[in-house]
Amino acid sequence: MNHLILVPILLPFLTALLIMLPPIHYSPQRRRWLSMIATALLLVVSVVLLLTIQQQGLTFYALGNWQPPFGIIMVADLVSCIMLCLTAFLALGAISYGSAGEDEKGSFFHPLFQFQLMGINGAFLTGDLFNLFVFFEVLLIASYALLIHAGGKNKTRATVHYVILNLTGSAVFLLALAILYGTLGTLNIADMALKVTQLPDDNLMLVKAGALMLLIVFALKAAILPLQFWLPATYASASAPVAALFAVMTKIGVYALLRVFTTIFGEQAGPLQGLANSWLWPFGLATMLLGAIGVLASQDFRKLVANLVLVSVGSLVVLVAVQNTAAHAAVLYYTVHSTLICGALFLLADLIATQRGKAQDRLVAARRVNQPVLLGTLFVLCAISVAGLPPLSGFIGKVMLLQAAFGANGQYWLWAILLLSSLLVLIGLSRAGSTLFWRVSGMQKAEERVQPLQLFAVLWLLSASLLLMVFAGPLTELSFAAARQLADVLGTIQSILPGSGVLP
């Protein structure tokens, strides 16, 4: 048994507790450094775990040594390890930015941040659907408190909506779990995948109803079309480091969709195979288009970035519906790229907003930013990457998306809408950039300057785009390996439940 699997959950948890102890809690500097060091350590642990899993293949940890299907298990495969690394990488950027002063605007920023990391990591690692619900709640309650960090009317209003929506989502999640438990008799993901093959016909409709209710919940978390209206306001009102961390929250929804609808209702599920695809495909396309229109229509830069998150979610969800190895590999690569770049853009939006005085990040003529060359360069790099222009990682990601859709049903719809939305994003970004940097009214410059930690945070996230481009070869190979492992449902079942016998 590999105890390393638990470290990504325990490390943020213990750090959060440690930060709240008096010797550290009363000193802002100690809080910051402990939080940053722990997050850096988390990144190291995640990478080590990824390398271990790459060698050993799928590994699981049975809590209390209760063997599956009876106990709760934590499963580490390549997909969850990639997501862990992504989260830790993003979190290090966000926490460095927060440590430049944003964390002192409210209390308990660092402990809440670490608790949220614990929830996110747990959600990626768990091999049990009810445990997934529990970790969702852990990350949600931390995110509620983080969202309202630093206070203000906008934040309060957005938080009320966010909390009510997510509580309703949790209720639906529980209903779906109860239906699935009542029909399949288990909540262990691998065991569910096994039980679905032996499902009697009269339970088919019930399982289908439960699965589609899960689809609703994950669609709410991932912000797919009819359930996406909360996202722009919420993300735009959150403080910058929180918004940057939230860039990974929608991807948790996508990850859960991938997990449930390729493992449980995968190729072995007979009549239930791919039952979400016919829903994900059209709504994903619509989300992409609506996000792109939102980018054009945004009145301020933060809303624009939030709409960019929607565009990326839309393209990911469509690819989840394509259901082949190339598509899943593209989903993984593009998830890493889009999350980190959206995080960088949220941080950059805050930097620009602080230097523009009263106009903040509204797209109107205002005073000149204090460091136009620095911020302008960062903006151009981010924009190139997120719009998918060569040479940065967005281009490679988009090419992978387009290639994966080759030969799929309705491939031309995907190509048309993906390319159209890229064009709209490009127009929206160039318009926003020229307004932010060039439409200046001749008032005097502001005093604010970018602090070193803030600059480090943005560069750190931006460097990911560069790394994803330079090491595109090994990284696409890694995502293909992960996608193959994800698609190998029978192998997963064999390694988690060795006594389950031979499958049909």
């Binding site: 309650i141 309060t156 938080t159 009320v160 009510i164 309703t168 209720a171 438990y181 009542g182």
Partner: protein, 118 residues
């Protein structure tokens, strides 16, 4: 028993959904609470309704499924914490925004009038 149980869950869900669609935070909180009661009962029923089921192995032919009880306990605790958070948040929103509407501002007078005559 099954019919009664199902009717209870259905009635609670209907009330919960109705209240959740109201415009002020207090009915919404009550609605969410009712919905979570309905959900808890529903989870409980997922282990099948079972009278006089034994819990200890080897004492009877008729056993109760223990897992839904554990699940429902977890769901109750989480739901309780979340509701407590929402209540505090609603009070904060009332103080920050000056009213208790979920959108942070009262609807336009025309709608308000119609609401009052109802």
């Amino acid at each position: 028993m099954e019919t009664l149980f199902a009717l209870c869950i259905g009635f609670l869900t209907a009330c919960g959904v109705f209240l959740m669609l109201r415009g002020r935070t207090f009915p919404v909180v009550v609605g969410l609470t009712m919905l979570s009661y309905a959900v808890n009962l529903f989870i409980f029923a997922s282990g099948r309704l079972n009278l006089k089921g034994a819990v200890v192995l080897g004492t009877s032919d008729n056993y109760a499924d223990p897992l839904p009880q554990a699940l429902v306990l977890t769901a109750i605790v989480i739901g309780f914490a979340m509701t407590a958070f929402l209540v505090i948040l609603a009070i904060r929103a009332r103080a920050d925004l000056g009213n208790d509407h979920v959108d942070g501002s009262m609807p336009a007078p025309r709608h308000a009038k119609r609401e009052r005559t109802k």
